[in-house]
């Protein structure tokens, strides 16, 4: 009997590609023979748009990259401009950045954990994660007035001080968080079928992870404790005591578990940041018009998906000459085509979900 492979076009409209991502799968029955990923359906030309905006006006565009962790996107950009201008950010602002940044990371990881549960087929975990993410969004709304696209960071500091009513619910949330994480572990991580579906699936070896310059939980799942907050601390991260959770096998399960563990660690960081929150200004002394000297700067931060790099070139005018973002989701996708070969359709979803991409960031 003669059999032949067939091509299945998965996406851009597909419930589990996390947005408008497209993979052209060549399948032999249910097994992937060849995969070609086609990003770009959400490309808005943010980098080009930035060239026609002033430095401050670029900040809202960064919100729209990884819209699940907007605070961290803001951070990457302002860090680069601050580096270019040589601005010393006040200590209080740095602490506030850590607090909102880690909250944003928690929100982003909660989405990752929840949607991964849906990808594997269990819808209930999704709603538990989103229930708790709601609390984070409420907190961030108190700070910035917005729930998704915060634009809270400013070049030289943050837009506003933390309101006093922000702290009691935050404390309560941090107190609840470990038990909430236990709940996810009980509902999703501990499930026999979930483990059968994710363990030893989509293994990324440490060597391949490094070769493809993967970062974030995707790399740490392979056992490499590479976290910028630890290995090259920026801001005030060197003052906090926290661990970098790593996986062992580099499979989908490890990447997933890493995220839940990181949520716990983020809670620890926030707790320490609240305790050590100094008094003082929240903005550095800034000129009226932000006009960095001609030159270039590259700054990196650890976003929830990996290392977010921002490269800014200035020609001395009030508008950036060129802005480029190193988007972790995009870079992490580079290995996907190779990773998918040999796995089944269901695994394609499991592997893609474990990379935790956000299309706004991939396509920028």
């Amino acid at each position: 009997m003669k059999t032949q492979t067939y091509v299945l076009n998965m996406g851009p409209q597909h419930p589990s590609t996390h947005g408008v991502f497209r993979i052209i799968l060549e399948l032999d029955g249910e097994v992937v023979v060849k995969a070609t990923s086609v990003p770009g359906y959400l490309h808005r030309g943010i980098e080009k748009l930035a060239e026609a905006r002033t430095y401050t006006q670029v900040i809202p565009y960064t919100d729209r990259m990884d819209y699940l962790a907007s605070m961290l996107m803001n951070w990457g950009y302002v860090a680069a401009v601050e580096k270019l201008m040589g601005i010393e950010v006040p200590e209080r602002a740095e602490y506030i950045r850590v607090i909102v940044g880690e909250l944003s990371r928690i929100a982003s990881h909660l989405v990752a954990v929840g949607t991964y549960s849906v990808d594997i087929g269990g819808f209930t975990g999704f709603l538990y994660c989103f229930r708790d993410r709601e609390r984070v969004l409420d907190l961030l709304e108190m700070v910035s007035g917005s729930r998704m696209t915060f634009s809270y960071f400013r070049i030289g500091g943050v837009a506003d001080d933390l309101p006093p009513e922000f702290f009691p619910p935050l404390e309560k949330f941090l107190k609840d968080l470990p038990s909430l994480c236990d709940e996810y572990d009980g509902l999703i991580t501990g499930n026999e079928i979930f483990q059968a579906r994710t363990k030893y699936v989509g293994i990324i070896t440490p060597e391949m992870g490094i070769n493809y310059s993967l970062t974030g939980p995707v790399l740490r799942g392979s056992g490499i404790p590479y976290d910028l907050r630890k290995v090259r601390p920026y801001g005030v991260y060197d003052r906090f005591d926290f661990e970098v959770p790593v996986g062992k096998n580099g499979d989908c399960f490890d990447r997933f578990v890493c995220r839940i563990k990181e949520i716990r660690q983020s809670a620890r960081i926030i707790q320490q940041a609240i305790e050590g929150l100094p008094e003082g200004p929240i903005m550095a002394k800034m000129p009226k018009v932000i006009k960095p000297p001609a030159g270039e700067a590259y700054a990196e931060i650890e976003s929830s998906k990996g290392v977010l790099g921002c490269y800014v070139v200035s020609d001395g005018s009030p508008k950036p000459y060129r802005v480029h973002f190193r988007r972790p989701s995009f870079i992490n996708l580079g290995y996907l085509d190779e990773l998918l070969v040999g796995w089944k359709i269901a695994d394609v979803i499991a592997i893609l979900g474990s990379l935790d991409i956000v299309l706004g960031e991939v396509d920028c």
């Binding site: 849906v118 087929g121 709603l127 538990y128 089944k344 359709i345 269901a346 979803i349």
Partner: protein
């Protein structure tokens, strides 16, 4: 209390017909017709209630409230949904096999409906008391494989095709443990008649005599009705909706409603074979037999829903491995143990 409502109605109808001078054969035919219509109407309406129940159960499992706007406590939500689906356009994609494509969602209701013909809803309340009732249900229920495959094949969509392939593979493999697990009960009772099997459970329910068989039957049953963790056929996050992908409006709704119909059949069979059918537990006969039957059936359905909203989905190769390497050997072992047990029992002379 209310024990004889339904049998009373049937008897009353017969008396009236006899009084009106209708020949016995014709009167029997009319009574049968009434029974048939009653069962079909009940099953269809019950499906609407089951959808509501599913949504409420899943809502409470997921820390939500669920439908609560249409009607009291949202009871009319499903009715509103069905009306909406009825009003929707039925889209026929280009280059589908029209006849098969349109026939499949209508035919999909047939196997569960046919199975209900022998289900006894209470004492003496089986529409037809067939002496090979169990065999009939199993035979009819396995027909649905073909219908899902029709939908998957005719849609001219690769997702549908993959879904259709999975249906055939899954249902054929899980049919086997499903049947084999029931063999234990049949060996104990020595009959294929549903009524006699229920009556044989007056002492102990077969869930206690055949716990392993019950478990196997339940797992295989979940698989037969394509529900999580065995909902690979639909596999929402992988293959959109499997064979249903191209269907819109009522065509899609028919598949969904049929799924609930099949779930009802499996739950009824579970109740009959293992949970004592209409028999009241602990001699609590203050509730009518049909009421007990429904309590047990809905308890089973609740467990179905509970599992669906807690577990993730298994992968296709794991499904096959589980079916062939775990369930089939276990059910064969169960038959063996039952046989040996029966032999020893007889040898002791109990």
């Amino acid at each position: 209390m209310g024990e004889n409502i339904f049998t009373g109605i049937a008897a009353g109808l017969r008396t009236i017909l006899a009084g009106a001078g209708v020949p016995p054969l014709a009167s029997e035919f009319i009574v049968m017709l009434v029974k048939l219509v009653a069962v079909i109407v009940f099953v269809s309406l019950n499906v609407i209630w089951l959808v509501y129940m599913e949504r409420k159960v899943c809502a409470y499992i997921q820390c939500r409230i669920g439908p609560n706007r249409v009607g009291p406590k949202g009871l009319l939500q499903t009715v509103a949904d069905v009306v909406k689906l009825l009003a929707k356009e039925i889209i026929i994609p280009r280059r589908v096999d029209k006849v098969v494509y349109l026939a499949a969602p209508i035919l999909v209701f047939v196997p569960p409906m046919m199975a209900f013909a022998v289900i006894p809803w209470g004492e003496g309340m089986a529409p037809i008391d067939l002496n090979i009732g169990v065999f009939y249900v199993l035979a009819v229920a396995s027909l649905s494989t073909i219908i899902f495959w029709m939908g998957g094949w005719s849609s001219n969509n690769k997702y549908s095709l993959v879904g259709g392939m999975r249906v055939v593979a899954q249902m054929v493999s899980y049919e086997l443990p499903l049947v084999l697990s029931l063999l234990g009960v049949i060996m104990l009772t020595g009959t294929l008649s549903i009524t006699e099997i229920v009556n044989a459970q007056r002492g102990t329910w077969f869930i206690f005599a055949q716990p392993l068989a019950f478990l196997i039957y339940f797992i295989a049953g979940v698989s037969e009705v394509n529900r999580t963790p065995f909902d690979l056929v639909e596999g929402e996050s992988e293959i959109i909706a499997g064979p249903y992908t191209e269907y819109s409006g009522m065509g899609y709704a028919m598949y969904m409603l049929a799924e609930y119909g099949s779930m009802m059949v499996i739950s009824c069979m579970c109740t009959i074979m293992f949970l004592g059918g209409w028999l009241a537990p602990f001699g609590w006969t203050f509730l009518p037999s049909w009421f007990w039957f429904f309590i047990k059936v809905y308890a089973m359905i609740f467990i179905f829903m509970w599992i669906r909203w807690t577990y993730p989905r298994i992968r296709v190769d794991q499904l096959m491995a589980f079916g062939w390497k775990v369930l089939v050997p276990l059910s064969l072992a169960n038959i063996f143990v039952t046989g040996v047990g029966m032999y020893i029992y007889r040898a002791i002379g109990w």
